[in-house]
Assembly symmetry: C2
Homo-oligomer: 336 residues x 2
């Protein structure tokens, strides 16, 4: 079968399509024939050696939708040909507050979804939400799960929240925006691109601020939130964005972080204790989070799709994610 | 009546005893005849202009025990002469997650307990725990409340926790240690003073580390905690101590902060999101916290008393708190 392989580190251009053996379904496993996969920043970080626990050579990719190809021994309630999506979190068996193993995610250290076939534990295979196209279904697993746990399980969003979403263009942040609108919360978003801000507004963002042209974007965001500032922040920027998010969040508010692409943040303890706020870390999500997340997509919520690239254009797709030019998810067309 | 007054800013030496009118109990108020008061770092910060909302001249002091002197109109269930302690939090009426008004604390902006008499809302007057001496009862209100909310309400301590308590000598931290021992949790403490570490061990600290002689104190603390590190940290240091506390706390752990005397902290987002930790701010506590805290002192928990100073030696008492030489609470003897 054809697969996107990484045999050496050095950036997105090291990704290439190669022929590898088709995987077989062992006991308790399912082989999925992949129709669409999708990129996460993680895939690009791995090519750059910016992720823990890399082992090569490897087929990358965490997100996919497709159909059941073959079923291993002992697997119940699953039919060949059924349309499915895959939960890429392999290290979180129960519903505890933590994964059993951090970083055990489809696509590294195990072979992933950028291939015509992928083998996964049967427990990670879910029925594809009927309301979604293949492109849309492939776009949701990792980012939709991360956003779900950040927004609901950790952030405990309600319709009364004012949600601040810095850097709205990224895959996960577009899901946070969609979820916040779904529950009826008010949203304030930022981006460095007016084009992305327009797209966010089209998806229902109430206030959109360009941090490249508004040096006081955090003050603008606080004012736009009304009251004492945003009550919930979901961020993966870290750095100065996290510093300012903690400074502008309302008393009693929650700042949920699932990443730190801009590095360390200088934090004022006073902003945390005087305002009684919660700064909450999260990464991926539990099986319950994944199941609850899928249900949202049966009730009208839609993922934001940036572009669909053919499998052979995988380097271009990865470079688009690396450049941060996308709004929403970059999808890879693998098969039909 | 005699009272410790602050009429100008400039440090502890600006505190002085003066004659001022005795307060009267208005509707819904109680006048308490103060027997013992106690210092908090806050009192010293105020003399140094390091606290928000200062208005002078003022009688300082948040902590007191004494007896009911007179009772205002409409106050029920309270007898003249009854031994009482005072909840110094004046801005937190209900049991919400936040005070209604931050910083509305007895002793600033209202006249406080460093006086022969103090007038307070009847709702802030509680029966003195019978098991405690006057010195002990005076020592608990502000620090005991802060520690209670940090350890129980926010930190959700259980007997299975390993609690890391940096800077164990301060008033609040000695309460955190006492509470942690009370529930049966394991404790790891630090101080820059071997004498304080010995006192902490005498109070039941399982592991005591001198951060002045152990440059890798955080690694020592993580190792001593066993497993993946401490599961709960309660800190008011901020700065490098907060940075390292976040780095060593176990996955799924909680870092509760109620102060930041060492200033801003550089925080690695990765430590927060990859470990799914909670960084939780807190300050003072609700009426329910105060009532639940008092109950602990009826079951054998004791506050740590550093020294008792006569009222006329108030400057020496304040300078001891400023120097950080104390272990536990510095008490002021006001009357009998």
């Amino acid at each position: 079968m054809r697969a996107v392989r990484l045999t050496e580190l050095g950036g997105p251009e090291k990704l290439h399509v190669a022929d590898v053996p088709k995987p077989e379904a062992g006991p308790g496993q399912i082989v999925v024939r992949v129709k669409r996969a999708a990129f996460n920043r993680r895939d690009v970080f791995i090519t750059q050696n910016l992720y823990p626990g890399i082992s090569l050579p490897r087929t990358l990719g965490s997100d996919a939708c497709g159909v059941v190809d073959s079923i291993g021994e002992g697997v119940q309630g699953c039919a060949v040909g059924a349309p499915v999506v895959i939960n890429p979190e392999l290290g979180w068996a129960g519903d505890g507050p933590l994964p059993d193993t951090s970083g055990d995610i489809l696509g590294m250290p195990t072979d992933g979804t950028f291939a015509e076939f992928v083998v996964v534990p049967a427990a990670n295979v879910y029925a594809k939400p009927a309301a979604l196209s293949d492109d849309e279904a492939a776009a949701i697993p990792l980012a939709g799960l991360t956003a779900y746990r950040a927004t609901f399980t950790r952030g405990k969003i309600t319709k009364d929240d004012v949600v601040f979403i810095p850097g709205v263009g990224s895959g996960v942040q577009t899901f946070v925006l969609a979820y916040a609108k779904h529950v009826g919360a008010r949203t304030v978003v930022t981006s460095g691109s007016d084009e992305k801000l327009e797209r966010a507004k089209a998806l229902g963002a109430d206030v959109a601020i360009n941090y490249n042209t508004d040096a006081d974007w955090h003050k603008t965001a606080r004012k736009a939130a009304g009251g004492a500032g945003p009550t919930l922040v979901v961020d993966s920027s870290g750095g100065d964005t996290l510093t300012k998010s903690i400074d502008i969040v309302a008393p009693g508010g929650r700042v949920v972080i699932y990443g730190g692409t801009r590095g360390d943040a200088k934090v004022r303890p006073f902003s945390i204790f005087w305002k009684h706020i919660d700064v909450l870390g999260t990464s991926m999500g539990s099986p319950s989070d994944f199941a609850a997340m899928l249900k949202l997509f049966e009730t009208g919520v839609k993922p934001a799709i940036d572009r669909v690239f053919p499998m052979d254009d995988v380097v271009s797709a990865a470079e688009r994610v690396l450049a941060g030019d996308q709004f929403g998810k970059v999808v890879l067309a693998i098969g039909e």
